[in-house]
């Protein structure tokens, strides 16, 4: 919600700097005759000016994305001998393409892992490896799973490293695997599930094309285009607060705004949603860790 409000202010400012456009806006009296619809059309055009400026700005940001710092940290974590069992992930963790293979692994997850007997998304798999292979305690990892202030959890850096190693590769969630397909279908049902005090589901906001909350555009996650928008740029460096955040965080914060209780970190529910969304983006090219407002 805060994001929406901030975007709102941005837009108001954009208007203030565009006298020509603003003055050409049809006067309210004129729009009245044509009922409410034309009134809604004008601001959409004007929003584009702000959007264009923001996109320019975003491109400048992407040239040197602080996400790289976390990627480097993650690489260090991946290759170092760590944990109570004194083993490195590079020599023990299989992300689906063989032990230690990172290249291309991110865009092929979520996938089924026989050793865990579960479909897992990238972050969940990394956490699983840290617990099973390196001997870290689950409770310790669960204590503070998301970045805050100058604290960045290890799985966040690791998933940034793993994701960066799939840059410019195509999403290819193995939907042919019936176990993955099953989780995908369950994920679709999660997006349909209306509950909580406001009767919201994921689809209340993300189930139709061309909708927005305040000025925030809402991707329709059922479509390849919308799903691609939704999964692109994660994990992402968030300018607000200067922290690195992952898809696990993004899903949780959506549920917060949906007025739901909190989903557990690396739970089946999050994996099902990521399976549904990422598979819907299959074929699209992943651009690597991103930068978010």
């Amino acid at each position: 919600m805060r994001q929406a409000l901030i975007a709102a202010t941005a837009f108001a400012l954009a208007l203030a700097t565009q006298p020509v456009v603003a003055q050409n806006k049809p006067a309210p009296a004129a729009t009245a005759k044509k009922a409410a619809k034309p009134a809604a059309a004008a601001p959409v055009e004007e929003k584009d000016a702000a959007t264009v400026e923001f996109e320019k700005f975003r491109t400048m940001m992407e040239e040197s994305n602080p996400a790289e710092l976390f990627e480097a940290q993650g690489e260090d974590f991946w290759k170092s001998i760590r944990g109570p069992k004194q083993v490195s992930l590079a020599t023990s963790c299989d992300l689906g393409l063989g032990v230690g293979i990172v290249k291309g692994a991110y865009v092929q997850m979520p996938r089924y892992f026989a050793d865990a007997g579960k479909v897992m998304d990238a972050e969940r798999r990394i956490v699983w490896c840290m617990i099973e292979k390196q001997g870290f305690k689950e409770a310790d990892i669960m204590k503070q799973p998301f970045a805050s202030g100058s604290y960045t959890p290890e799985p966040t850096s690791l998933v940034t490293y793993v994701a960066a190693n799939s840059k410019d590769m195509k999403f290819a969630v193995p939907l042919k695997d019936p176990r993955v397909k099953e989780v995908y279908e369950i994920g679709r049902e999660v997006t349909n599930h209306r509950a909580g005090p406001y009767d919201f589901s994921c689809n209340t906001c993300h189930g139709a094309d061309g909708k927005r909350i305040r000025m925030q555009n809402l991707p329709n996650i059922a479509t390849p285009k919308g799903a691609t928008t939704a999964v692109m740029g994660w994990p992402g460096y968030r300018m607000t607060g200067g922290v690195m955040l992952t898809q696990q965080w993004r899903m949780g914060d959506c549920f917060r705004q949906q007025r739901f209780p909190q989903p557990k970190y690396v739970s089946d529910t999050i994996t099902s949603l990521l399976t549904y969304m990422t598979a819907n983006a299959n074929g699209a090219t992943y651009k690597g860790p991103g930068i978010k407002r």
Binding site: T9, A10, L13, A14, E53, F54, F57, M61, M239
Partner: protein
């Protein structure tokens, strides 16, 4: 080896020695950088005071000093700013954000082939004029500015 001219920043007297020592690999980074941080300039509450503290009380507007920044910043916590000087013999550049609690953001001295061209990212608490000041080897100051509209507080987090 040329001396890095610490013109805008204080501690100028020590710099030649320091740079020589640094080049010779004699000092650890802590020691190298432990020159005097210009506390007066960085803690000044308004731009005129901060400019005065770096010796640039008067500066002429110059078209040859280019300051590139977005018209509207998507997020005040991260505003990309690029300053490049086409003024001959520019040896230092400093950046001020008028409406920030402490306007001086950074000051750079260039030497040994470094072009007077720097890009950085600033925090801006609110919509403000962003100002660049360039100093030339003969002690003259030039300035350029641009307003950047900010959509959310950067300093408040």
């Amino acid at each position: 080896m040329d001396t890095l001219r610490r013109t805008v920043l204080k501690g100028a007297s020590a710099s030649g020695v320091l740079v020589a020592a640094l080049a010779a690999g004699l000092l650890k980074p802590t020691q190298v950088l432990a020159t005097e941080w210009n506390k007066v300039a960085f803690e000044a509450k308004d731009t005129p005071a901060a400019m005065k503290a770096v010796g640039a009380a008067t500066a002429a507007e110059s078209k040859d000093l280019k300051l590139t920044a977005p018209d509207i910043a998507e997020n005040g916590a991260v505003v990309p700013v690029d300053v490049s000087s086409g003024i001959a013999n520019t040896i230092s550049i400093s950046i001020f954000v008028d409406k920030n609690p402490n306007p001086l953001s950074a000051a750079f001295d260039f030497a040994n082939g470094a072009l007077p061209d720097v890009s950085m990212r600033l925090k801006m608490g609110q919509t403000s004029i962003v100002r660049a000041v360039a100093k030339t080897a003969d002690g003259k100051f030039y300035t350029a500015s641009k307003e950047v509209k900010v959509t959310a507080g950067g300093c408040g987090g």
